[in-house]
Symmetry: C2
Subunit: 200 residues, 2 copies
């Protein structure tokens, strides 16, 4: 059964996916570049990852089982559409208020959805078929969680205290939120990979 997951969201020990004023990315994403095993990138703008063997084994398995992504318009714009294709080499569903002018038609790289998170996830599920859907960005993850659409939370926990910034689920409404697991605990060397199931 395919699932909807946040994938491997890199987070600081104090719960931030970005530091104050968009700082801390060098510290958070150090594990993307300090290993021995290369993971190819399908994006012309994003270099391959170089991660530890333990991290690579997990990412390869999960990437192979991911059939579509859901992202927000902000991430799409900020990355300049990853130069045309997402690094994970899958179709990316972009939730937006308005389709960008330079992409009048959906294609195998990008699909645009303008009528809300449920529709975006449904469209991604169609594209993914038997495979999983990964949701990227705190705001998208929050909307999925609050709409009851999220099955799994994936965290790549990095040993740094950032002291502020953007949290895993952004401005989450009702708390506490409980999870089961972790179903996966992998020591990636300087990063700990954890997978939790949303309790429904």
């Amino acid at each position: 059964m395919s699932k909807v997951t946040t994938g491997a969201t890199t987070m600081s020990l104090d719960g931030y996916i970005a530091g104050p004023e968009e700082s801390g990315f060098d510290l958070l994403f150090q594990w993307y570049g300090d290993g021995d095993v290369e993971i190819p990138s399908a994006s012309p703008d994003v270099p391959p990852l170089r991660v530890s063997a333990a991290s690579a084994e997990l990412l390869r398995r999960e990437w192979a089982n991911t059939g579509a992504l859901v992202v927000g318009r902000r991430l799409y714009d900020m990355t300049n559409a990853w130069g045309g294709r997402h690094p994970m080499n899958v179709t990316t569903v972009v939730l937006t208020h308005q389709r960008p002018d330079d992409r009048p038609e959906d294609d195998e790289n990008f699909v645009f959805v303008t009528d809300g998170i449920e529709s975006a996830v449904a469209r991604a599920r169609e594209v993914a078929g038997e495979k999983d859907v990964a949701v990227n960005g705190g705001e998208m993850a929050r909307q999925c969680l609050e709409a009851g659409l999220l099955d799994e939370v994936g965290v790549a926990l990095v040993p740094v205290i950032l002291g502020g910034g953007k949290t895993l689920f952004g401005e989450l409404g009702p708390v506490p939120v409980l999870f089961d697991g972790p179903s996966t605990v992998i020591d990636g060397g300087g990063v700990t990979h954890l997978r939790y199931q949303v309790r429904k």
Copy 2:
């Protein structure tokens, strides 16, 4: 070589050791009671822990190697001095502005220090001898970290989002703070035990 550590500090996935308005303790400390292996308590007021086998193996090893604790006066008062002896069965050094009236003398249960964190840790080191010193409470951990006295951070990571409350190191001054490790990653079943080394 003995070290100064926060021990096993229970923390939510979003980085809180207590929820908003002192809530969330039932969720945070569920792992203290939902396992099969009993860990005795030396406190007449605190029941034994019942934790998973994996958690028990770690706690037993660490408790056996802990020679003294450092706590703040707030925790001492809040727990009513644990009824006379800390559950971990070690001497507890209490950092306070003023010695409590009902304890005119230090003894094997409690030692009072009024002249700051460096003095409290030094006193605890004397008591601990070859063993480790554990520092409890966010405010004590913060003071130790900022004074360069902390060697290790121990986290028992629990899969709940609390959305606010008290953070691991309280109102920490300079950020970011970097750690090495984790040196330990143990899946305790619903709790993940992590040990990090303070980068100096």
